[in-house]
């Protein structure tokens, strides 16, 4: 089995899906000859031609809305948003068009679209190249929102997203692109959407996360074991909407303690929803208050290193939250 980075996994998934299905095409800024600013589409235009890997004009609105139209006509477009921060010109297309199309047409018009969004901080990207704005989309029913944390999941989930008949927002954390590496099968496999996964089982505390902070949570779990002998279970949401509640509720029912970690701003981030679900549906299972580790409610990710460090969730912050929860 080849060892792949997260970005290789994405590139392989795109390659395989385009080979498998002629209706799949890519559109986005710099996705052609350049292969994308992060090289997610490297080599694909050479292989599949300029008509299937389209270098779009600098216009996110039309990148997504032309993809929606093509999807309505039965194609399977994969649109790339170079930086999540620049998705705002496409917000109408995503939230008003793609998300509502099936609903408003009573299922007679559908939108099998994948929008790949590069997001996330921790790389010194500054105010407009670091944002985690998954909450904008998890608040929009009709969209499926996916955010893999591993290379294996990145490949398997992207393939599922492309084959799915719903509009899928596929969030790729830029810090994961080259920092995680693992064995990923070279052959065709998929990872199901809408299924969370217990990435590490444990009996004393549940940590729920996704994306880059899932990796941080795994490291924090390791520290808890070493330093305190605490056995932490790590739940990876993988799909943020529709949320696989059962997997984390079952986990909380086993461990009775929960820490939620995300890089999105705190207010109305997914942690708020997960807390509410646990409070409503599994209140009796809790031995300690629910704890959240999130980015603060500031308008953007600051550039200067100490500021960004303060902004981002970290292993230390997660460990501290776990300790508090265990000690309660």
């Amino acid at each position: 089995m080849p060892v792949m980075t997260y970005i290789d996994a994405i590139n392989t998934a795109l390659d395989e899906e385009m080979t498998r299905d002629e209706q799949v095409f890519i559109i986005g800024e710099d996705v052609g000859k350049m292969g994308g600013v992060f090289k997610a589409t490297k080599g694909l235009q050479e292989k599949f031609g300029v008509d299937r890997v389209i270098d779009s004009p600098l216009a996110e609105g039309v990148i997504v809305s032309s993809s929606i139209g093509a999807a309505m006509a039965g194609m399977r477009p994969v649109a790339e948003i170079q930086f999540a921060d620049f998705i705002t010109p496409a917000m109408d297309a995503i939230t008003q068009q793609a998300a509502k199309l099936r609903y408003r047409s009573a299922g007679t018009q559908t939108c099998p679209l994948t929008v790949r969004v590069c997001y996330g901080g921790g790389v010194g990207g500054g105010l407009y190249h670091s944002q985690t704005n998954t909450s904008w989309f998890i608040h929009t029913p009709g969209l499926v929102v996916v955010a893999p944390s591993t290379a294996y999941d990145a490949k398997g989930l992207l393939k599922s997203a492309i084959r799915d008949d719903n509009p899928v927002m596929f969030f790729e954390h830029k810090k994961l692109y080259r920092s995680v590496k693992e064995e990923v099968p070279d052959e065709d496999f998929t990872v199901p959407l809408m299924k969370a996964e217990v990435k590490k089982s444990g009996s004393d505390l549940t940590v729920i996360s996704y994306g880059y902070t899932l990796q941080l949570s795994l490291q924090a779990a390791e520290k808890m074991k070493q330093q305190h002998g605490v056995d932490v279970e790590v739940v990876d949401l993988r799909t943020l909407v529709p949320l696989d509640k059962d997997t984390f509720l079952e986990s909380v029912a086993r461990t009775n303690r929960v820490v939620i970690v995300h890089e999105d701003n705190r207010t109305l981030g997914i942690g708020a929803e997960i807390s509410a679900v646990i409070a409503e549906q599994a209140f009796d299972c809790l031995d300690a208050p629910i704890t959240r580790v999130t980015a603060p409610d500031v308008p953007a990710v600051p550039f200067s290193a100490p500021l960004e460090h303060f902004y981002m969730p970290s292993v230390e912050k997660i460990v501290a939250a776990m300790e508090r929860t265990i000690r309660y």
Partner: protein, 367 residues
């Protein structure tokens, strides 16, 4: 200019098999075939009849929504859509309800849409102004102005990729041309030579804002220059002129020569919607435009050619009115959707159970 593509009528109950022989076309050197002229006329008449009837229904309080009538603009909407094939796409705006009639969406279903009934194309979901019809490729865009144009580019892109000889006719008002993504769409269509006709129905007003506060150009079609595509302005109240310009544009698009921006200068007789008394306009302006009503204008023209009689018109009207009455009866007899249907068609899978009966966790044993 002769179109290369065979025209397929999707008009469900075309009432135009009149007494006039099609062969007369040659002798009279008419601009178009007799049958075409008569069809253009009778479509306009039908659309007018339907919309005026809907306006009455609104004033009678027989449906709950609102309506955006295109009365006065029939020549434009009929002219640009008459030659479309079922496989072609219409990307309509809020004021294009009658393009459904042109494409062939069954009238009873359309009336059911107005009444929000289960039997409508989208089972009562969207307001009448924004309904689509999938079987005949009428897209269902959101209400965001100009958005349909952007979605239309993608459908045109798919046609091009698959080498399908189909076109997308996207319609919007002059107000839409001020939006950023109107320009994104036209730029993209021009760049990829997409098979599109971008129709701007310049009716002078975007709600209460006159076109002079909308843009500094006199002819919206000038904007085409910026995108390397032809821009044409026509008298939007002259159905023959609109039809001919549209046919040229549609043929160009079908033959892979790319999009055309077609501006039709026209006027809406009534308010922006049924709840707008349109007090911002001078009565004189309205009167002037009513004087340019495309329907009597076409009647005079056809009569001069000896291919129109009042009897024929009255017969058409009778037929249209009967059809509308039936459609209204169908709509009013149709059930409303069940309340829980609000949870359907969110995703490709069902969420009803999840929403209605969420799992409640069992309390831990021994607690």
């Amino acid at each position: 200019m002769a179109t290369q593509v065979e025209r397929i009528t999707t008009f469900p109950n075309f009432a135009g098999d009149s007494a006039f022989a099609i062969g007369e076309y040659e002798q009279k050197s008419l601009p178009l075939a007799v049958e075409t002229l008569q069809r253009l006329y009778s479509y306009m008449l039908k659309c007018r009849t339907v919309e005026e009837r809907i306006r009455i229904l609104f004033r009678q309080g027989r449906f709950a929504g609102n309506y955006f009538a295109a009365v006065g603009q029939e020549a434009t909407q009929v002219g640009v859509t008459m030659d479309l094939l079922p496989e072609d796409t219409i990307a309509p705006s809020h004021r294009n309800f009658i393009t459904h009639i042109m494409k062939g969406t069954p009238l009873p279903q359309l009336l059911a849409q107005i009444y929000g009934r289960k039997t409508s194309p989208d089972q009562g979901r969207s307001a009448p102004a924004h309904c689509g019809y999938a079987p005949l490729n009428i897209i269902t865009p959101a209400s965001t102005i100009a958005a349909q144009l952007n979605i239309g580019t993608g459908i045109a892109l798919a046609y091009k990729m698959r080498q399908q000889r189909n076109v997308v006719v996207a319609l919007s008002g002059e107000g839409s041309t001020s939006l950023g993504f109107w320009h994104e769409a036209v730029n993209f269509a021009g760049l990829h030579k997409l098979p599109m006709v971008i129709v701007v129905e310049n009716n002078g007003w975007a709600e209460s804002v006159p076109v002079t506060l909308q843009t500094a150009v006199t002819d919206i079609s000038e904007k085409a220059k910026a995108y390397g595509i032809p821009g044409v302005t026509v008298d939007g109240n002259d159905v023959v002129e609109v039809y001919q310009a549209a046919r040229t544009a549609i043929t160009r698009a079908r033959e892979g020569q790319g999009p055309t921006l077609l501006e039709c200068k026209t006027y809406r007789w009534y308010g922006h919607s049924e709840i707008d008394p349109a007090k911002y306009r001078e009565p004189r302006e309205v009167q002037e435009w009513k004087g340019r009503d495309p329907i009597p204008r076409m009647e005079r023209f056809l009569e001069e050619q000896g291919i129109w009689t009042n009897d024929w018109k009255q017969n058409l009207l009778k037929e249209f009115e009967a059809e509308i009455e039936q459609a209204i009866a169908f709509a009013e007899a149709s059930p409303f959707p069940e309340p829980e249907e609000a949870l359907d068609h969110v995703y490709s899978f069902d969420i009803r159970e999840r929403e209605l009966a969420p799992k409640t966790w069992e309390p831990k044993l021994g607690r």
